[in-house]
């Protein structure tokens, strides 16, 4: 479906952009509404989940990654993986130290 040649020629329908736009606005409203509810530990998790969903919509549709080359898709995937990996490593160090015990 995603031949490298496609990006140069593919013209995305404005209706897709409009749908993404409405979904993003709904995401902002949902984020604010969710912050008003007391969900405990789930509050930041839900807020970030909505943000990641919004970011994915922008990346895939507005930035045309869906119609981009496999090399570009792989690069974005690798970036996401490495960034998560780096955060995990930092947090591992952070949580496993004997804070205040030296």
């Amino acid at each position: 479906m995603s031949e490298p040649r496609e990006q140069a020629e593919h013209i995305v329908s404005p209706w897709i952009y409009a749908a993404v736009y409405l979904a993003l606005l709904a995401g902002v409203a949902a984020t604010i509404a969710a912050s008003r509810m007391n969900l405990g530990i789930l509050n930041p998790i839900l807020a970030l989940s909505i943000a990641f969903a919004q970011a994915a919509l922008v990346t895939v549709y507005s930035m045309h990654l869906k119609w981009s080359t496999k090399l570009n898709k792989l690069s974005v995937g690798a970036c996401a993986f490495i960034y998560c990996f780096l955060i995990a490593m930092v947090l591992l160090d952070y949580t496993s130290r004997a804070w205040g015990q030296w």
Binding site: I11, G27, V28
Partner: protein, 253 residues
């Protein structure tokens, strides 16, 4: 441009080099590429790589935020409460709308509609300017309340919340916790400031694109520069999508 390298690419390009005309291929195809497709693949890959370094750049600040937020949670809650959710939400909507008009500008460029493209770019520029105006009003309020980190930072709103309408009714923080609100505002200004700087750079580029677009530079089949600028603008939008809940919406229930 090394002539020898071009000649080596084959007879077709060599023939084009003879009179240094762009015979048989579009003028925007640079001589060191074999085809328009190859040029598009290479340049879009370069743009993605640039944006991925930007992810790492902002990502570093998000990690600092994550750790300090866990460490000094009460101070971050009190600091976050000083931010105006309505203004932050309006700014989110403004930036998302400007992203939408940017996608339409790219679509118009690809459809070779000069007027529509310029209109969409002007709208994108204007929405970005209003965003920065709202951000400026928010910054001004922080300066007035001495919530800008530094020599004149004031703990008043956090030690004595009832003296500040924005903090009224909340629990006063002990001095050591209150002092860490300065850390929250340091991150607030660093992250939103760096985001605003990206927008200002983006608006400069947009002015350049608008200037060239009037002559039809992007509506004659070669839209790469507008598309890559659009990607940059969407990236700035994504950063704000994360900044808004993380800075404005800590423990708001």
């Amino acid at each position: 441009m090394q002539d020898s390298a071009v000649v080596a690419q084959g007879a077709r390009n060599a023939a084009a080099m003879a009179d240094h005309a762009h015979g048989g291929h579009p003028t925007y195809l640079l001589h060191h590429f074999n085809s328009v497709e190859q040029q598009a693949d290479a340049s879009s890959f370069a743009m993605w790589l640039f944006l991925l370094t930007e992810v790492m750049f902002f990502g570093g600040m998000f990690v600092v935020y994550l750790i300090y937020r866990n460490w000094y949670y009460p101070a971050f809650v009190a600091g976050s409460r000083q931010l105006n959710v309505a203004l932050g939400g309006i700014n989110s909507a403004l930036l998302i709308t400007s992203s939408f008009t940017m996608t339409l500008a790219v679509w118009n460029a690809r459809m070779r509609r000069k007027g529509g493209m310029i209109l969409c770019l002007v709208l994108t520029f204007a929405l970005g300017a209003v965003f920065l105006g709202v951000k400026g009003a928010e910054y001004k309020e922080k300066f007035e309340k001495h919530h800008v980190p530094g020599e004149h930072y004031s703990l008043q709103s956090f030690l004595n919340p009832d003296s500040d309408p924005a903090a009224a009714g909340t629990r006063p923080l002990p001095l050591d916790e209150a002092r860490h609100t300065e850390l929250f505002f340091s991150l607030y200004f660093a992250m939103t400031g760096m985001h605003a700087l990206h927008m200002i750079i983006g608006m400069g580029l947009m002015a350049y694109i608008l200037f060239r677009a009037r002559g039809g530079a992007y509506t004659a089949g070669h839209t790469a520069f507008v598309e890559y600028f659009g990607m940059y603008w969407h990236f700035v939008d994504i950063v704000w999508i994360f900044l808004f809940p993380l800075l404005y919406l800590i423990n708001r229930h």
